[in-house]
């Protein structure tokens, strides 16, 4: 979920390194032009829709090596490599994408698109409303995880891909992974949901709502109509700070900051930023404001709140009973935003449906965001899983034996 903190600048992944995809660029695909707008889950129509996306590697002649990476709340299409040689950091999941990495771009064709409702090149509340010529603001319809995935499927069609080798994503990306497997059983050979759940918990909704309230309480928010004026910086920064706390863990915060003070040795007996942890969160909030739209934050968190597969299908088992993908479900031991028991609920339903499922709880102290950090077991697990999926797909015997 967090990007600023998560991307390490390791020597081997530096621009030009042998394990980097190198210089990349963002592409744009526009569809659902009026009068053929896309009908959204909320009943409203939306169009035209633009998706910003990046691809790395080469699509095989059989078109059977495509990997779709779906991002979380604050992610974007730029998932690996660098846009310019001067870029300080690579894309947000560069640690697993590139030659020789888990999503080996010499073997796989990697796709990542900014979600519908986002603010990184895809159509969202900061995009221009064709009817008014001004940014949508709150006139933008509320989009859901299903809407995002349906938009992605149009992009995948456009790229000429019938069936994805895998769909992978963490956190809210995991929602999209599940949605893909449920909605398009014939288009997904495998699925890798990470640190996620089949429905957002009450706790998750609660944190999202606090973030939204912070944004909407900012006097600069102006009912969402702040474009061209001062943005609701303070509100969005607080939302980000709250979110960021939920992506970490008690243990890691203690190890990283403890009770240390920032730039001072004694208490100031005032309300300036004193503790290192305060300074860190403030930095996270401030840098987020520079790259993220407050209204997108409202819309995307709302789409998370609405996500509930069991409710939509009556039960999770029924939601998953037509799934044809094989699953690798990963959770993180110290994740308290999407605790392991939520991943196990998915696993249980998959097993009851006879879906070949592998489940692994990764042991890590870094909390929810651990999947974005360098993690050798995570990389090795994905590498091994994907190699076997591709072998089975190519052998053509990936057909699942349904339980009798």
């Amino acid at each position: 979920m967090s990007i600023d903190d998560a991307v390490p600048i390791s020597d081997e992944s530096r621009f030009g390194g042998s394990q980097s995809v190198g210089l990349v660029e963002t592409n744009y695909f526009t569809f659902a032009e009026p009068p053929n707008e896309m009908e959204l889950e909320c009943g409203q129509k939306l169009g035209p829709i633009t998706l910003a996306y990046e691809t790395y590697g080469t699509l095989s002649p059989q078109r059977d090596n495509a990997v779709l990476i779906v991002h979380a709340l604050s992610g974007e299409a730029h998932v690996a490599g660098y846009h310019t040689p001067e870029d300080r950091k690579p894309g947000w999941w560069d640690i697993v994408i590139g030659p020789g990495k888990a999503f080996d771009t010499t073997k796989y064709f990697v796709i990542c698109a900014n979600i519908l409702g986002g603010c990184k090149g895809s159509t969202g509340p900061s995009s221009v409303h064709p009817a008014t010529g001004r940014p949508y603001g709150l006139a933008f319809p509320v989009v859901t995880i299903s809407d995002m995935v349906r938009a992605q499927s149009v992009l995948v069609d456009h790229l000429g891909i019938r069936r994805l080798l895998t769909v992978v994503g963490g956190s809210m990306g995991g929602f999209q992974v599940l949605e893909w497997a449920v909605r398009y059983p014939d288009r997904v050979a495998s699925a890798i949901p990470i640190a996620t759940s089949a429905r957002l918990s009450a706790q998750g909704i609660a944190f999202n709502e606090v973030g939204r309230q912070a944004i909407m309480a900012d006097p600069n928010w102006l009912g969402g109509d702040y474009y061209g004026r001062a943005v609701p910086q303070a509100g969005l920064a607080i939302a980000r700070m709250i979110g960021h706390i939920t992506y970490l863990s008690d243990e890691q915060m203690h190890a990283k900051f403890g009770r240390r003070l920032q730039d001072r040795r004694e208490f100031g007996y005032d309300f300036k930023t004193e503790f290192e942890v305060e300074s860190y969160l403030k930095y996270q909030g401030d840098s987020f404001v520079r790259r993220f739209d407050a209204n997108s934050y409202l819309y995307i968190t709302k789409s998370m709140d609405y996500f509930d597969l069991p409710a939509r299908y009556g039960s999770l088992v029924r939601a998953l009973e037509h799934v044809k993908a094989e699953f690798l479900v990963l959770s993180i031991s110290s994740d308290w935003l999407f605790p392991t028991y939520q991943a196990k609920e998915i696993v249980k339903a998959l097993k009851a449906s006879g879906v070949p499922t592998t489940f692994l709880e990764l042991n890590s102290p870094y909390g929810h965001d651990a999947f974005l950090l360098p993690n050798e077991p995570l990389a090795a697990t994905i590498t091994g899983f994907l190699a076997n999926v591709q072998r089975r797909v190519r052998e053509g015997d990936e057909t699942r034996t349904p339980p009798s």
Binding site: E326, L328, K344, V347, K348, K351, A352, G354, P356, T357, T358, F359, L360, E361, L362, N363, P377, A380, T381, T383, G384, F385, A387, N388, R391, R392, T401, P403, S404
Partner: protein, 209 residues
């Protein structure tokens, strides 16, 4: 099962081979405590089985994933609970019975999710075990039982005789019994409770249960 059929030059234990021979081609198999997935991988590869595993060790789970064996990382009883009745043809518990906290529950669950169970365990009635306790007056410690009393994961040892009795009491049908020495050589049933280092039982629910 002959060694020549194997594509991978892995060292295969005779107990694995024997268990493999008890599993029909194409069977749906669940292996409890599947370790690095060797047995399951072989069943999938050689017999076209639809295999699943449960394993608690993270590193072992990763080996399973590399082999392409679908595996659940976690507790055996919890993992068993995820499956529906009769979802498997065969459920395997290889050399792990003695490490389970509640063997009757595990076996009951095995025969709930599967029609047939294959259970192998080290025989505590083996003559060397008896001698060590009787003559040396010490807890058995040998090839089959490599742990010391203070670090052993084994909490529920039994003998061949104990297990037969257990099956009778639980109304379980013993379909096959296979015995190996501690050095993995196959032996006949004669004095098995003295001679066997490892016992392999194939059991099923009694027809009237």
């Amino acid at each position: 099962m002959t060694t020549s059929r194997r594509k991978r030059p892995t060292q295969v234990r005779l107990d694995y081979e024997l268990i493999e021979s008890l599993v029909p081609d194409g069977a749906k198999v669940l292996d409890l405590g599947c370790g690095d997935g060797q047995l399951l991988g072989d069943l999938i590869e050689h017999k076209g089985c639809d295999g699943r595993g449960i394993e608690i060790d993270e590193k072992a789970v990763q080996s399973c994933i590399e082999r392409g064996v679908p595996v659940y990382h976690g507790d055996m009883v919890e993992g068993l609970g995820f499956y529906r009745d009769d979802q498997f043809d065969v459920v395997i518990l290889s050399q792990t019975l003695q490490q389970t906290m509640n063997p009757p529950e595990v076996i009951r669950e095995m025969l709930r999710v599967g029609r047939r169970a294959i259970i192998s365990f080290p025989n505590f009635g083996h003559w060397a075990v008896r001698l060590q306790l009787l003559v040396a007056g010490r807890m058995p410690h040998n090839r089959m039982l490599p742990h010391h009393w203070y670090n052993t994961p084994n909490v529920h040892f039994c003998t061949v005789k104990d297990f037969r009795e257990f099956c009778a009491r639980q109304k379980l049908k013993r379909v096959r019994e296979i015995f190996l020495t501690a050095r993995y050589r196959r032996i006949r049933r004669f004095l098995a409770n003295w001679r066997a280092g490892i016992a392999i039982f194939q059991i099923e629910r009694a027809a009237d249960v």
